[in-house]
């Protein structure tokens, strides 16, 4: 089986079948990371460029580890080390990269739509979106789906509450679309300033009151307060934010008995999530990171041509 598209640009362009295939492949890849010798020859001779135009640790390392475990040659490039700082346009930079014949370009960029633009101008390599502005972060949504499915043995019918800065969150957008495609119900919650117009149309029910949003949830996904994006009167203080929207043990108690707590990281302890909520037995935050490698191995494999 193959994916319906050459590129992984966002969750909208992945079909339910694509998502199923990626999760299934990732589940079978996961075991590689548990071996004493964590390497398979599957992508030997393939070149993967990791072009991270925006700071990232977790996602970049995750892709790098995934590529290396598949025996691909991975090359990391950051905006600060690229010709972008010399005034070169993004299209010119990646056309030069393309001239070196990579098979896959993984792009993280602060501009929404940057990977879509590259997908139009590049002829050969497949593009994997590792996060574009506030728009999409499909590999994060896929690893979240994998983790939920692994723990709950299903996705369909679950109630997933996403709490925090929905407005600025590509993770929220991609999860809303992915969870809807897989049959879950999505609730979003956060200060009114952080709920973007028309989010209901994407498949999320808006519940401003965080207690209400958590009630009966099977999964609570907390979003990071992106301190770098909070100019412009979004909320009064972190203290008030923590009180109204932070995940405390009390608030978590309102959720279902087997609730799972997720967070895409990096977490601001004491702001959107208390240490008790982040570290308790319900937390699957580090499982998300582990599964991230498996999902990215699966995506690199499928995008490179699959079986």
């Amino acid at each position: 089986m193959n994916l319906s598209n050459k590129h992984i640009l966002d969750m909208t362009t992945l079909t339910r079948e694509d998502i199923g295939l990626i999760l299934e492949t990732a589940e079978s890849m996961k075991e590689v990371s548990e071996r004493p010798i964590k390497k398979v020859p599957t992508l030997r001779g393939k070149t993967v460029v990791l072009f991270f135009h925006e700071p990232s640790t977790r996602t970049k390392i995750s892709f790098d580890v995934a590529a290396k475990r598949m025996s691909a040659d991975s090359i990391g490039l950051a905006a600060s080390g690229s010709s972008i700082v010399k005034g070169e346009t993004l299209i010119d930079t990646v056309k030069n990269l393309e001239a070196m014949r990579p098979d896959i370009v993984v792009l993280r960029h602060s501009a929404a739509g940057a990977p879509h633009m590259l997908a139009k101008v590049l002829e050969k390599p497949a593009i994997i979106n590792a996060g574009d502005g506030m728009h999409a972060h499909p590999t994060q949504a896929l690893l979240d789906l994998m983790t939920i499915k692994e723990k709950k043995e299903k996705i369909e019918g679950l109630k997933v509450s996403i709490i925090g800065d929905i407005q600025h969150s590509r993770v929220a957008r991609s999860n809303i679309i992915g969870l809807n495609k897989m049959g879950a119900q999505v609730v979003v919650s956060g200060p009114g300033t952080m709920i973007p117009k028309g989010i209901e149309k994407m498949g999320a029910r808006v519940v401003i009151d965080a207690d209400e949003a958590v009630k009966g949830a099977d999964v609570v996904m907390m979003l990071r307060i992106q301190k770098e994006r909070q100019k412009g009167f979004m909320f009064p203080t972190e203290r008030e934010y923590a009180r109204l929207y932070g995940l405390s043990p009390r608030r978590l108690g309102l959720a279902g008995d087997d609730v799972l707590v997720m967070h895409p990281g990096p977490i601001n302890r004491g702001v959107e999530i208390s240490p008790e909520a982040a570290d308790g037995p319900w937390s699957i935050i580090l499982d998300q990171v582990t599964n991230g490698v498996a999902v990215r191995m699966a995506i690199l494999y499928l995008v490179a041509g699959g079986a």
């Binding site: 993004l90 501009a111 929404a112 739509g113 633009m117 502005g133 728009h135 999409a136 117009k197 028309g198």
Partner: protein
């Protein structure tokens, strides 16, 4: 050139609408009557059977890029694009580099236009020095140099006090004030209309209120000062409503919209299409309907293009850093004619909004009357063609209408008796 135009439907709303002949000699309309025999000094005969012969179209909102950004457009290429679009005259906005905030730049633009010898170019001078919104320009000297209006187009005049003083001062010396309505603090990062589409695309939005707040302020200032104000490029339903109410209250406000606001919505941004990026942004279907209603009931006086040429360098980049604006001169009339073909507007109304009212707002003489300068556009209302940007006379190709099939276009543009374009 002395030109005889035969058998056209001569239409100057409120003045004439009949199949007749026109003779142009020495740059002016010398005869309007049926069956004019070809005079001895006639140099050209045009058979206008089945065509509309109308007062020259005026686009009162155009960005020529000279001086400063000649790689996007020059006065000459802009004037030629105007001629091909059926415009006998265009107003050049002042955001050149340097800004048209002094008589030297105004005179330079007029000199370039004269050299081009094509459609007329009327410079619009800046409201504030360097478009900074801080100090008035020398409007008296600018007017003497040839400026027909003042505007900081592209930038709002944020200070209400300054806007009040500008309106009072300019009215006193007979210059129209054109306002770019935008409250910049409400959406410092916005790059497209705020709504479902911006949310799903992850782009920062510009709500309608960014425009309508300033429209309402300028209406209030117009009422306060008793002077006229012209609102540029209206895009939002709330602005149309405010202007409609102001007109009903007798306030001296006029306004324009651009063809893209009655043709497209923010759906056109899908796929991060930078050719659908402009300021104000393309809005929703509800706004598009309100713009059309405003055109129909007369709330919106003028159709102007906001012709904004940009090189591919400024458009083939990430959406959020792409330049705002599209070229419009060569698609404006056909897009407006679509409203006629759909039965929404009459042809009279199109000629009013693209010729008569802009002339009135700017204080220009423009009409098909004996002894007036022969600025005439001949339109074939039924001619179908496909928009091919590579054939544009403009230096730039940034249009969202490429490949669209349109019906009705100019086939001849006559400026001061001289045909400057003939299809």
């Amino acid at each position: 050139m002395n030109v005889l135009i035969k058998n056209g439907r001569v239409l100057d709303p409120g003045t004439i609408d009949q199949i007749t002949d026109i003779y142009i000699s020495n740059g002016v309309i010398s005869h309007i009557s049926e069956n004019i025999e070809k005079p001895a000094d006639c140099e050209k005969v045009v058979d206008a059977t089945g065509k509309l012969v109308v007062p020259g179209l005026i686009d009162m909102h155009v960005h020529l890029r000279e001086p400063g950004h000649e790689y996007k457009e020059t006065v000459a290429t802009g004037a030629l694009a105007a001629a091909w679009g059926g415009f006998t005259a265009i107003c050049a906005m002042p955001n050149t580099k340097p800004v048209n905030d002094n008589a030297q730049i105004t005179e330079f633009i007029l000199k370039q236009a004269q050299k081009a010898g094509c459609s007329r170019v009327y410079p619009v001078a800046a409201i504030s020095m360097d478009l900074s919104g801080e100090a008035m320009c020398e409007y008296g000297e600018l007017k003497d140099a040839g400026a027909v209006a003042i505007s900081d187009d592209g930038m709002p005049v944020v200070s209400s006090l300054m806007m009040r003083r500008v309106m009072e001062y300019a009215a006193g010396i007979g210059l129209s004030v054109i306002s770019h309505c935008e409250e910049p603090h409400l959406s410092p990062d916005g790059v497209m209309n705020e709504g479902e589409q911006s949310t799903s695309m992850g782009l920062a939005g510009i709500p309608n209120a960014v425009e309508s707040i300033m429209v309402m302020r300028d209406i209030a200032l117009s009422e306060l000062t008793g002077t006229a104000i012209h609102i540029a490029h209206v895009s939002a339903a709330e602005s149309v409503r405010a202007i409609r109410e102001a007109k009903a209250a007798g306030i001296k406000v006029t306004c324009e919209t651009a063809p893209h606001y009655f043709t497209l919505t923010d759906e056109a941004v899908t796929g991060y299409n930078t050719h659908a990026k402009m300021n104000p942004p393309l809005r929703t279907e509800k706004d598009r309907d309100a713009i059309i209603d405003g055109l129909v009931d007369g709330t919106i006086d003028v159709i102007a293009t906001d012709h904004a040429p940009h090189n591919a360098v400024e458009k083939e980049v990430e959406f959020n850093i792409a330049a705002n604006g599209i070229v419009g001169l060569e698609t404006s009339l056909p897009l407006s004619m679509a409203l006629v073909h759909k039965g929404i507007l009459t042809i009279d109304s199109i000629i009013e909004k693209m010729s008569k009212y802009p002339a009135k707002i700017l204080g220009l003489d423009n009409g098909i009357q004996k002894n007036l300068p022969a600025d005439i556009t001949i339109i074939d209302p039924e001619l179908s063609y496909i928009v091919e940007p590579e054939k544009f006379k403009s230096k730039s190709r940034n249009t969202p209408f490429a490949g669209m099939e349109l019906k009705g276009r100019a086939i001849m543009t006559i400026v001061g008796g001289k045909p400057v374009f003939e299809l």
